[in-house]
Amino acid sequence: MSAAPVPDTLRAPLVVEFPFTRSLGPVQSAFLTGLRERTVLGVRAADGRVLVPPVEYDPETAAELRELVEVGATGTVTTWAWNPEPRAGQPLTTPFAWVLVRLDGADTTLLHALDAPGPDAVRTGMRVRVRWATERAGAITDIACFEPYESADVHGTRPHDGVFDDPVGGIVAPARLDYTYSPGRAQTGYLQALTERKTVGERCPSCTKVYVPPRGACPTCGVATTDRVEVGPRGTVTTFCIVNIKAKNLDIEVPYVYAHIALDGAGLALHGRIGGIPYDQVRMGLRVEPVWTEGSRYPDHYRHCGEPDADYDAYKELL
């Protein structure tokens, strides 16, 4: 047992990525389908204002809004911000202005990008028009961006029934965020020990329980775990289950046993697969040892180590 030194910090890339599939309400569907057809629709609010982009419910009264109108594809910039370094996913890859645009006929503004040669070419009040994307699918990105365009503001709307062939009913919005994960002091020590095929936990100075893997704090006492303790390598199966459904991309034949294993010296069980023994012979109290495979950063599975079974009293507190 030794005071845990501060190990070199581990880091690894972590990507969180998922495609959100979202269904659309009738107003959103009409608006986004309209963009696909190069038509901009707004919705009339309870107070008579025309909202673009349109919403399903009145922002002030929550009344259901359904009266659609067509507004212009030209409009006026109400505020702007020059973006010298576009970021991933943004509408343009060259420097551009973020703009709020009030389209002709609308009373509210829409956020998008304005393609302009530089900040000197942009001002509040300037006239712009929609530049349509070449490929349009029924999404806000069907507007590629806005572009400067001198024209008169004809502040009018036309009624529109919002009906189009093949209306879009949903959008798929991919979201990807990139992180650099670092596990902190306690887990770094645990991971570094695993590279030497050792399992280390940390002891709570208050209740003396040894946590494996350690997370740096005793969740019972709310204090930092301070002393690093090597545990195992052998342990006892405290409880187990038999897995009969093959997980996707998992190269293990079913049925197999997944068990809670209390490594000798640990204050709680970790989990692992039990191999090398028929699944129906695994039992509580079975003594096991880790099996490492070449290049692996953690035990592939645990196997019976030949010792007689542990007494129930020896592990009942660890269930």
């Binding site: 501060v6 505020t79 503004t109 992180y179 306690a186 740096g216 704090a217 709310g222």
Partner: protein, 369 residues
């Protein structure tokens, strides 16, 4: 007589506050390892143990560090056994404090531990924050947090409410004040730098970093026993505006003004003995991550030059996401604790361009007593 709904039956005070030294990176610490010393600090200040705390509430967001259910891991630092009464908000800790305040007002607890933490260093917070936007019309364009604040700043400049030199002076004053704050990430005046998204320069933007904070709340005589000069919460309210930026007047913050009204910020002081002749508030801790947002908040709250704004340096000096709002409440309370303020306003914000705002009015007992 109908009781004034703004004057609750129970008195609740902030009796302790602690925060980390906020830093750009804390790679050597997990979230719980970063948070735990702060929890221990507030408990030590009050002499309370986890088992003495009636209610625990926290604020954090898994998206910042990309760690699912990170708040359950953070609970390891509390010592939640035997099982404690606990709640969590996926919001700034100021809203966790609001929940705890309500819990204490209802009589279900006499003390509360409130904490918040955020590790922005593992990810890119400008991009992470785009994921809180409307998923149909905004999020697919990935408009980052600086871009949206810059649209607001331009609107303020166009309306004649500020200009770039005035924004620079907000930034300079904040970092100058932060030299007296040992927890600040950016203490001391520094160059405004280049445009990040014009008209906002590096100096107008908050630092990105990691940090945590905690406070202890207590009622009535319990508060008096735990703290020499409790910071009584005289009122607190929070209000939200439409999520569509195009529906809002970005130069104003009606939600802040309404929350302040409901919190009693514009009323005369109403301590036990009154504070005749005292100003409404002498201090305001405003959660304005961007220099331009302080301009909006000052106008919405009608703060004159007699009010000391952000003596801590504010969010321009340290902006640990999810904790920076709670820190405003904590800093205001700490000033009352040490006698540097008698009546302070604390504000927290959430969402793009000050979409949602919380205002609390804190007051110390008259020192004549």
């Amino acid at each position: 007589m109908t009781p004034d709904p703004r004057t609750p039956d129970r008195e609740v005070a902030i009796v302790a506050f602690a925060q980390t030294v906020h830093r750009r990176r804390t790679d050597e610490l997990s979230e719980v390892e970063m948070l735990m010393p702060v929890l221990h600090d507030v408990l030590r200040q009050t002499g309370l143990k986890t088992s003495d705390i009636g209610f625990t509430c926290s604020g954090s967001s898994d998206y910042l560090a990309g760690r699912a259910f990170s708040f359950t891991m953070a609970l390891d630092g509390v010592g939640a056994w035997p099982p404690i009464s606990e709640s969590h908000v996926e919001m700034d800790g100021a809203w966790a404090l609001y929940e705890a305040w309500v819990k204490l007002l209802t009589g279900q607890a006499d003390t509360a531990l409130v904490y918040a933490y955020g590790k922005s260093s593992p990810g890119s917070v400008r991009d992470v924050l785009t994921r809180q936007l409307d998923p149909y019309y905004l999020a697919p364009l990935w408009p980052d947090s600086v871009a949206l604040a810059a649209l607001q700043a331009r609107a303020l400049i166009d309306a004649g409410h500020t200009d770039e030199p005035a924004l620079a002076s907000v930034a300079a004053r904040s970092r100058e004040d932060a030299t007296a704050n040992p927890h600040a990430q950016l203490p001391g005046r520094r160059p405004q730098g280049d445009y990040v998204v014009a008209p906002l320069r590096t100096g107008d933007c908050p630092p990105v970093g990691d940090g945590a904070a905690a406070v202890v709340l207590a009622v009535g005589d319990t508060a008096r026993a735990l703290c020499a000069r409790p910071a009584w919460i005289r009122g607190m309210d929070h209000r939200i505006e439409a999520h569509a930026l195009g529906l809002r007047d970005l130069t104003d913050s009606p939600s802040t003004r309404l929350a302040a009204e409901r919190a009693g910020a514009f009323d005369l002081p109403h301590g036990p003995q009154g504070m005749g002749g005292a100003p409404n508030v002498d201090t305001a801790e405003l959660h304005a991550p961007f220099s331009s947002q302080e301009v909006v908040l000052r106008r919405a709250l009608d703060l004159d030059d007699g009010v000391r704004v952000n003596p801590s340096g504010g969010a321009l000096a340290a902006n640990p996401m999810m904790a920076a709002g709670l820190i405003r409440l904590g800093e205001a309370a700490a000033r009352i604790h040490r006698g540097a303020s008698d009546r302070a306003l604390a504000h927290a914000t959430s969402g793009p361009c000050l979409q949602q705002n919380l205002v609390a009015v804190l007051e110390g007992d008259s020192r004549a007593r």
